[in-house]
C-alpha cells in the first residue's frame, strides 16, 4: 500500500479506468496541458492526450449535454465542472435529462455519466458553495462525496463504471490536506455504502467530506472526556446508506449530523428525518444537525471561519445530545 494525497488518489483512479476502458474520456476546462483546476487532472494529458481529453470552452451546459449524448452512445464520459459553484448552470441537463432518461425510456436507454466537481473552502479562495443536497432530492442521480484518499480512488472508479449519472464531489481542502494508504490493485468502493471511520458507543456522528476529518478530531477530543463517538463517513449521499446509519444509532442512541452545506434544507435534514422515522424508539435525545448557518458563504477567510462548521461546534452538538453543557 502506498500513501497518497486525496487528489493523487483520484487522478490514479481516473487513469486506471482510462487505461482499462478506451471509452472513458474527459471533457472539462483547462484539464489538458494546464493540468486542471488545482492541478486536479495532473499527468492525464501527458498519458492520454487530446483524443481522450477534450478541452472545453466556458459552456457548462453544453459540456454536460455532450456528456449525456456520448453516454447514450455507450461511451463513459466524465465531465468536469471546475467548481460546484457552476453546477447551477447544468441543472436542466442533469435534472430534466440525465436523471430521467432511464426511467423515461422505460429502462431502454441509460446515461453512464460522471460529473466531477470541487467544493468547500480550501487553500484556493473561490467557489466554496456546496449544492449537493439539491441532487439527493432528484431521482435517477447518484451523489458521492468521499473524505479519505482510498475511498476517493475506489469511488471514482466505481462512479466511472456505474451505469447511471453520478455526481462526484471533491473537497478542495482535502486535495493535498490529507494523505492516506491506498490499497494496491483494482481498488473499488461500492457506491451507496457508508463507512464507520471510528467506532464508539455513546453517540453517532454522521459526516461528509471535510467534516469527517473535523468529526474525527472532535471524537479524539471527546474521548479525553470519556465520550466515545462513532464517526460514520457517509461517502455516498444518494442513495443514502440508511442501514449503516440506523444500525449505528441503534447502538449509540444519539446522532449528530455534520455537513458543510447550509443546515436548512441540507442533507442533514433528510438524514435526521429518516433516522427518526426508522429508529425513533432507539433515539435517546433529539438529533442535532450541524451545518453552515443561513447566510451566503462569505469570501473573506476570517468570516468563513465563523460560518463553516468546526470541531468545537461538533463537540458542542455532541454535548447537547448528551444533555451536557459544552465548555467550548
Amino acid at each position: 500500500m502506498r500513501r497518497l494525497t486525496y487528489i493523487d488518489a483520484i487522478i490514479e483512479g481516473i487513469a486506471e479506468e482510462m487505461r482499462r476502458d478506451p471509452d472513458v474520456f474527459l471533457i472539462g476546462q483547462d484539464i489538458g496541458r494546464f493540468g486542471g483546476s488545482l492541478q486536479g487532472t495532473k499527468g492525464l494529458w501527458e498519458e492520454f492526450g487530446p483524443s481522450r481529453i477534450y478541452e472545453a470552452p466556458i459552456a457548462e451546459s453544453a459540456m454536460a449535454g455532450c456528456g449525456i449524448g456520448a453516454a447514450l452512445m455507450g461511451l463513459r464520459p466524465m465531465v468536469e465542472i471546475s467548481f460546484g459553484e457552476f453546477l447551477p448552470t447544468v441543472m436542466s441537463q442533469l435534472v430534466c435529462h440525465a436523471a430521467s432518461i432511464h426511467y423515461g425510456t422505460a429502462g431502454v436507454a441509460h446515461v453512464p455519466l460522471v460529473i466531477r466537481t470541487r467544493v468547500g473552502i480550501g487553500p484556493y479562495r473561490g467557489h466554496p458553495q456546496c449544492y449537493e443536497s439539491w441532487f439527493q432530492h432528484v431521482p435517477g442521480l447518484k451523489v458521492v462525496m468521499p473524505y479519505w484518499p482510498a475511498d476517493a480512488k475506489g469511488l471514482i472508479k466505481a462512479a466511472i463504471r456505474d451505469e447511471n449519472p453520478v455526481l462526484f464531489f471533491e473537497h478542495m481542502f482535502l486535495y493535498r490536506g490529507i494523505r492516506g494508504e491506498v490499497p494496491d490493485g483494482d481498488h473499488l468502493v461500492p457506491i451507496g455504502r457508508a463507512d464507520i471511520k471510528r467506532p464508539g458507543r455513546d453517540v453517532t456522528i454522521a459526516a461528509t467530506g471535510w467534516m469527517v476529518l473535523k468529526a474525527l478530531v472532535a471524537a479524539d477530543l471527546l474521548a479525553r472526556e470519556g465520550i466515545e463517538a462513532e464517526v460514520v463517513d457517509l461517502r455516498t449521499l444518494a442513495p443514502l446508506d440508511v442501514e449503516t446509519l440506523c444500525a449505528s444509532v441503534r447502538r449509540t442512541g444519539r446522532l449528530v449530523v455534520v455537513h458543510e452545506a447550509w443546515k436548512v434544507g441540507g442533507i442533514g435534514a433528510e438524514i435526521a428525518a429518516t433516522v427518526a422515522e426508522e429508529a425513533f424508539e432507539d433515539l435517546e435525545a433529539p438529533i442535532v444537525r450541524v451545518g453552515t448557518p443561513h447566510v451566503p458563504i462569505p469570501s473573506n477567510e476570517t468570516l468563513r471561519k465563523v460560518v463553516i462548521p468546526d470541531t468545537p461546534g461538533i463537540i458542542a452538538a455532541v454535548h447537547q445530545t448528551l444533555g451536557r453543557l459544552s465548555s467550548g
Partner: protein, 361 residues
C-alpha cells in the same frame, strides 16, 4: 393490408436497415452501430433526388398529416404539426439507420416511423396505452431510443441541442462516420443551450446537422416579436459554421439541403445550421384557437401547403398520376386507421406496471 414500411423502403437506400428488438437492449442501445464504418460519398449528397424518392417523401408527408390529425382528435394537448411536414420529412429522410436523430417535439412521429417505430405503438402514447414505447413515463415527443433516436424525456426546450452534439462527438470518438440530425424550433434558438451547443459543435467540427424548423411562432408570439436578428442563419457565423436557408415548404429542397449538410458532416467537414422556413397552420396545441394571429396570414400560408405543393409538382412532372395519388391517400388512411385500431385495442397503462421501477440502471 398495406405494404409495410420496412418492405417499402427496401428499394431505396435502407438496405442496411436492421430492426433492433424493441426491448431487451439495455446497454448502449444507440451504440449498436458504433464500430462498423461506412464508405463516404466524396462531398456529394448521400443520394440524388429521384422520382421514387420524391414520391416517397410525398407519401410520408401525407402519412404525417393523417397521423397528426388523428393525434389532435385523441388529445387537446397534442402539438399539431400541420403545414410543417416538408421539414419533418425532408430532414430525416435519406439518413442511414445508424445515424442518430433528434426531432423537434412538434410532429416527431413521422420521424420515429421513418426509423422503423411501429405506428400503433406511437399512437399508444397519447392514448395512454401499455404498448407505448415509453410506457407512459415520458411525453409523447420522446422517441424510442431503440432506433438511434435521442430520447427527450422532459418538456424543457434547449438541452437536446447539446445532447445531439454529444451523440455526434461519440460517433467521431468511435471513428465512425455516423451523423446526427436535430430539428429545433426557431423560438428555441434563443435559449442559452443553443449557443453553447453550437459553440461546441463548431469548435470541435462535430458531425451534426441542425435544422431550424422555423414555423414563425413560439406559442402566441410571431417571430418578429422574439427574434432580434433578420435571419436565423445570421447566427451561424458566430459558431464558425455555414448557415443555409431553405424553403421549408418544399420537401425536395429541404431533403437536398439536409443531405448535402449530412454529406459534409460525414466527411468530417463539420456542422451546418439550416433554417427551413415554414408555418404552423394550427394552434400551438390542438385546443388552441390561435386567436392571436390574423386569419389572412394563415390563409396565405395554407396556399403554400407543402403537401399540396408536392402533390402538384409530382402530378405536373408525371411522376404521379391522379390514380396513384388516390391510391396513396387511401393506403395511408388505411395504415393510420389500422394502427389506431390496434393502439386502441391495446391494454391501458397501469398495474402491474405502476411506473415505480427502472429509475436506476
Amino acid at each position: 393490408m398495406t405494404e409495410s414500411f420496412l418492405d417499402r423502403r427496401e428499394h431505396l437506400f435502407y438496405h442496411w436497415f436492421v430492426r433492433l428488438s424493441d426491448y431487451g437492449c439495455n446497454v448502449g442501445v444507440l451504440a449498436s452501430f458504433a464500430v462498423d464504418k461506412r464508405p463516404s460519398w466524396g462531398g456529394k449528397p448521400f443520394e440524388m433526388m429521384t422520382p421514387e424518392i420524391h414520391r416517397e417523401l410525398y407519401r410520408l408527408m401525407v402519412l404525417s398529416r393523417l397521423v397528426d390529425r388523428a393525434c389532435c382528435e385523441l388529445s387537446v394537448h397534442w402539438f399539431p404539426s400541420e403545414g410543417e411536414e416538408a421539414v419533418l420529412v425532408g430532414s430525416f429522410y435519406g439518413l442511414r439507420p445508424d445515424d442518430v436523430i433528434a426531432p423537434h417535439y412538434r410532429g416527431p412521429f413521422i420521424a420515429f416511423y421513418m426509423r422503423g417505430a411501429a405506428l400503433d405503438r406511437l399512437l399508444a402514447s397519447p392514448l395512454g396505452k401499455a404498448t407505448s414505447y415509453t410506457r407512459g413515463r415520458a411525453p409523447a415527443h420522446c422517441g424510442p431510443p431503440h432506433f438511434n433516436i435521442i430520447p427527450w424525456v422532459s418538456g424543457d426546450l434547449g438541452p437536446i441541442i447539446s445532447i445531439a452534439a454529444g451523440t455526434a462527438l461519440a460517433c467521431r470518438y468511435k471513428q465512425s462516420d455516423r451523423v446526427t440530425v436535430h430539428t429545433i424550433g426557431e423560438g428555441t434558438t434563443n435559449r442559452g443551450d443553443f449557443h453553447e451547443a453550437l459553440t461546441l459543435a463548431g469548435l470541435w467540427k462535430l458531425p451534426v446537422v441542425y435544422v431550424v424548423q422555423n414555423n414563425q411562432y413560439a406559442i402566441s408570439l410571431h417571430i418578429s416579436e422574439f427574434m432580434p436578428c433578420k435571419e436565423i442563419t445570421d447566427r451561424a457565423a458566430g459558431y464558425g459554421m455555414p448557415g443555409v436557408a431553405v424553403d421549408g415548404n418544399d420537401v425536395a429542397a429541404v431533403f437536398e439541403t439536409v443531405q448535402e449538410a449530412v454529406a459534409r458532416a460525414r466527411q468530417g467537414l463539420g456542422p451546418t445550421l439550416i433554417e427551413a422556413r415554414t408555418y404552423r397552420l394550427r394552434g400551438h396545441w390542438a385546443g388552441d384557437p390561435a386567436a392571436y394571429r390574423p386569419p389572412e396570414e394563415v390563409e396565405a400560408w395554407r396556399a403554400q401547403d407543402p403537401v399540396v405543393r408536392c402533390q402538384q409538382a409530382l402530378l405536373a412532372s408525371g411522376a404521379l398520376t391522379p390514380e396513384d395519388d388516390k391510391a396513396l391517400w387511401a393506403a395511408a388512411e388505411e395504415e393510420v386507421a389500422e394502427a389506431l385500431a390496434k393502439a386502441k385495442a391495446a391494454p391501458d397503462l397501469g398495474t402491474p406496471d405502476a411506473g415505480l421501477n427502472e429509475v436506476y440502471a
